[in-house]
Symmetry: C2
Subunit: 205 residues, 2 copies
C-alpha cells in the first residue's frame, strides 16, 4: 500500500500489528477514526494507554483488577471456599457471563506444556497451594482446556495438594446443548458416554 | 460480558465502537495490548492521537497530507495536466498502489446522491472547477463507483466544465483480469461487449 501521508501510514501500521488485523482492515479502522471528532479519538487513545498503565493483577487470584484485590475476591457474596481454576482471564469473563458461579477464581496464567517451555514454575501454582493450605477451601473446580496439557496440569496440581482435605472436580464435558451427535468428535462422544448421568439429575436441572 | 475491571471494560468498549469489531474481537485486541510492554502500548496510543490531530487535507486535491500540499501534488515528476477524479482517499491509495498512474488526483469527498442528502455543494466540485479554469489541465479521468450516482456525478461535472477544452475519460469497466465470463453480472458483461477493444490494442498492452 502506498500512502501519501506518514501520519496515516504510522497509524495503519500500528493497527496492523494487532492480531487478526491486516493492512486493509487497519486502513478501514484508521479512516473511521479520522472521521471522528478529535476529542473522541483522544478519548480512545487515552483509554487504551490508561488501561495498560493502571491495570494490575489481583494479588490473590491473578484475575485482572483495578485495585490490589479484584472485585470478585472482595465481594462478600462470593463463596471463598470454592475456587474455580482457569488458564486465563478470558475464562473468568466467560464464566462470569453465565452468572451461574458464585465461588472465586484462580488464574494459572496457562497450563503445563513442556513443548512450549511452560513448566509449573511459570504458572501461579504455588500461590494456589498457599491459598489452599490454611484449610479454608473445600473444593477446587478445574475449568482447563480438554487437552493432554490440561489433564497433565490437573494431575500435577492434584498430586501437590493430595495432603489437603479437598474435593477436586472438573467441569462436565459432553455434547453441547443443541449440538448434534453426528457432528461431535469421537473423543467427546466417548467421554460423554462414559460420564453419562442419571435421568433424574438431568431433569432436575 | 462481565468484567471485573472498569479499565478493561472501558478499553474493550472503545475498541468495540470501531466498525466491524465486536465485543469478542475487542477483548482479544485488548488482551493482546495488555501483554505488550507499556512503552509499546503508549506508542500505539500516541500514534493514533497524533494522526487525528495533525493530519490535514491537501488544499489542492483534498487527499490526505501531512503538510499544506500533499506529496503527490508537490512531486515534480507527476503530470499536473492529468487529474484523476476519485471519491475518497481509499481510491487514491488503491491507484497509487498500482504504480501505473503519474498524474495527480482530485478527491471529491463522495458522489452526488440526493437520497443520502449529498448534493454538489457538499463535494469539492467547485475547487475542481477552479483547478481546471486556468487551462493548465488537459484530461480528467473519472474513477468513480459504477453506479447511477457515479454516472450522475460525472454528467454533472462534465456539464459544468463543457466550456473548457478538456478531454474527459473514465477508467475502463469490464471483466476482471482472470475473471470468468459466466460469473460476471449482466451489466458488466453488456458494457464489456459494447466497449470491446481492437485486438492490436489488447496485444500492445
Amino acid at each position: 500500500m502506498q500512502f501519501s501521508s506518514q501520519l496515516l501510514e504510522s497509524a495503519v501500521n500500528a493497527f496492523a500489528k494487532l492480531p487478526g488485523i491486516g493492512k486493509k482492515t487497519a486502513l478501514r479502522l484508521v479512516l473511521h477514526l479520522l472521521k471522528q471528532e478529535e476529542s473522541q479519538v483522544n478519548e480512545f487513545s487515552e483509554v487504551v494507554a490508561d488501561m495498560r498503565k493502571n491495570i494490575r493483577f489481583c494479588s490473590r487470584c491473578f484475575n485482572i483488577a483495578d485495585t490490589e484485590i479484584c472485585t470478585i475476591c472482595r465481594s462478600p457474596s462470593r463463596k471463598k471456599e470454592m475456587i474455580c481454576v482457569v488458564e486465563t482471564i478470558r475464562e473468568v469473563i466467560a464464566i462470569e457471563s453465565t452468572q451461574q458461579f458464585n465461588g472465586v477464581y484462580h488464574v494459572l496464567g496457562g497450563i503445563i506444556s513442556p513443548l512450549d517451555g511452560i513448566g509449573p514454575d511459570q504458572l501461579t501454582i504455588e500461590a494456589l497451594e498457599n491459598r489452599v493450605k490454611d484449610g479454608s477451601v473445600d473444593e477446587l473446580i478445574f475449568a482447563l482446556s480438554p487437552t493432554i496439557q490440561g489433564d497433565t496440569t490437573i494431575y500435577y496440581i492434584q498430586k501437590k495438594l493430595q495432603q489437603q482435605n479437598l474435593k477436586i472436580t472438573t467441569i462436565a464435558r459432553g455434547i453441547s446443548f443443541g449440538g448434534e451427535l453426528e457432528y461431535a468428535d469421537e473423543m467427546t462422544l466417548a467421554r460423554s458416554l462414559q460420564n453419562r448421568q442419571p435421568l433424574d439429575h438431568y431433569v432436575s436441572r
